[in-house]
């Protein structure tokens, strides 16, 4: 077995192993370290001789490393005595207990005491089973930065005394929202890369979808989990049509809809149906908007009135300037650019999206449609200056140049 085989087993087992070890030792940081040591050992020893049961090997080795670590901590002598009595016995795994432990692992990785960047890194590492190198590649960061974030995150959790448990009922809703937003941040990094020379990074988006699928399987009665999954599936379904052969972005109106991934659309619509059981939350509403696009044969034949209504509701349950801006785009399609321009100008007057390239991008498009070409050109040039993605920037400059 080679490196890729070890990584594959680790992908499948990491969450369960770290979760079980955290339960076993009561120490998340120690559990994660012990699990990483086991992987490092596997990378050395498996190429020489494959274990009959790779998953069991990893668990047993990680457990031994955890006991070693505890043994080194003289202050925890009593606990060691407790463990030493029963060091190598494979516990009968209770599937419900493991599910709760994996969930607890997600909640601890997305805990509010951590910085947003640390939550992302820790979730991908311990729940997703990615290496620091893979996380660094995904977020275009140097490996030591990712390693430092993870080390710091583990220290923060220990210092804050964060317990390894499912959040109490009163905090549950808010904490689940925290987990969902971490998954959405990861997805967004893949679906609209904030930097770099590629518009889409489907491998990064995939990690978020995979984690959302896990969460949906573990919490089947939480509508917003299905809402997030639906949003990710329906957005990713358009990936194949969103870039041209040279990697440049293709706008919705120009996308070849035959290239949309219809299996992903079907999965997204199925998840949306599960999200709709008790009224849609913010992710479910965004998924419903994505579904309206996914079910339309063309931009012209899209139900823009419905999309405007969905954005209005979304603006009420989760107000944000970006939602307002998207509502403006939908209004432009449903009722014309003049009404939309009023919404955009109000956002500018209130300075709701300072420094974002999105506002001048939309304003430039609306002014173009209204025939106000010099103003449109100035807006698009401003947008290009503010945009960090090179692919998007060149499209904006091309459009500005076309206005003469």
């Amino acid at each position: 077995m080679g490196t890729a085989d070890v990584e594959a087993v680790w992908r499948i087992e990491s969450a369960r192993i770290v979760a079980a070890l955290t339960r076993f030792t009561g120490d998340f940081g120690l559990a994660e370290d012990a699990a990483q040591e086991a992987v490092a050992e596997a990378l050395v020893s498996w190429p020489l001789g494959s274990p009959a049961n790779p998953a069991g090997w990893l668990m047993a080795t990680a457990r031994r490393r955890a006991i070693d670590a505890i043994r080194r901590r003289t202050a925890l002598k009593d606990r060691y005595a407790l463990l030493a009595a029963d060091p190598a016995v494979e516990e009968e795994v209770d599937p419900d207990r493991i599910d709760d432990d994996v969930l607890a692992l997600m909640f601890i990785s997305c805990h509010p005491v951590l910085s947003p960047e640390a939550r992302v890194a820790l979730t991908l590492r311990v729940v997703g089973g990615l290496s620091s190198k893979e996380i660094a590649r995904a977020f275009l960061l140097p490996v030591p930065v990712v390693q430092a974030r993870i080390t710091r995150a583990k220290k923060t959790i220990a210092a804050a005394g964060v317990p390894f448990e499912l959040p109490p009922a009163g905090e549950r809703r808010g904490r689940l929202g925290g987990v969902l937003s971490v998954l959405y941040v990861i997805f967004t990094e893949g679906s609209t890369a904030t930097s770099g020379d590629r518009l889409l990074r489907p491998d990064v988006a995939y990690e978020a979808i995979r984690l959302a699928r896990t969460l949906a399987a573990l919490l089947p009665d939480e509508p917003e989990v299905h809402g997030l999954l639906a949003l990710c599936e329906l957005t990713a379904a358009r990936f194949p049509a969103r870039t041209g052969p040279d990697g440049s972005p293709v706008l919705l109106e120009d996308q070849d809809r035959l290239r949309w991934d219809f299996s992903a659309i079907r999965r997204g619509l199925a998840a949306l149906a599960k999200a709709s059981t008790r009224g849609l939350g913010p992710y479910g509403l965004q998924a419903a908007i994505a579904a309206a696009h996914a079910s339309a044969p063309s931009v012209e034949a899209t139900d823009w009135d419905r999309i405007v209504v969905l954005y209005e509701v979304l603006g009420r349950v989760a107000p944000s300037p970006v939602v307002e801006l998207n509502r403006a785009v939908a209004v432009a399609m449903a009722s014309g650019p003049a009404q939309a321009l009023a919404i955009v100008d109000e956002l500018i007057a209130l300075d709701r999206l300072p420094g974002s390239h999105l506002l001048p991008t939309v304003r430039g498009e609306l002014l173009t449609r209204l025939g106000r070409r010099p103003e449109a050109r100035a807006e698009l040039e401003l947008a290009a200056r503010l945009c960090a993605n090179q692919r998007e920037r060149s499209v904006l400059l091309r459009k500005a140049a076309a206005l003469g």
């Binding site: 890729a4 594959a8 896990t214 399987a217 194949p240 035959l258 991934d261």
Partner: protein, 126 residues
């Protein structure tokens, strides 16, 4: 991301062995499916019925010729599939090793290319 199909190929003997303890087989398969769902990798799974209930459409001649199943004289029969979206071929292999398959059967692992791998100029004209 790559998708892989795990294609179950049973023989008469392995199918008979499976049918001998079908309830246990179904229970173990359900647990396995649940495990893949919780890992976030399962996109679909189907088991196929008796090939005698199907048909074969043969394109050897000018017009398609339809005959009753089963298909040909193959020793190993396509009995069902799991469709997975995983991080690598190795992960697909690792999942395949965990399938509660009957002794004597085989699993063929095939890569399913994504829509984004289809050349852009090959789209059929509407």
């Amino acid at each position: 991301m790559p998708k892989y199909m795990l294609i179950m190929r049973g023989t008469d003997e392995s199918n008979a062995a499976m049918m001998a303890s079908i309830e246990e087989g179904i229970a173990r398969t359900r647990l396995f499916i649940e495990e893949m769902m919780k890992a976030g990798v399962l996109l679909g799974a189907e088991g196929l019925d008796d090939p005698g209930l199907g048909a074969v459409v043969d394109f050897s001649g000018e017009a398609p010729v339809v005959t009753d199943g089963p298909y040909g004289e193959t020793k190993e029969l396509f009995g069902g599939f799991f469709l997975l979206e995983v991080s690598s071929k190795q992960e697909a292999v690792e999942w395949a090793k965990r399938v509660p398959a009957a002794p004597g059967s085989k699993i063929e692992i095939r890569r399913v290319p994504g829509e984004d791998e289809v050349p852009q100029d090959s789209t059929v004209q509407r």
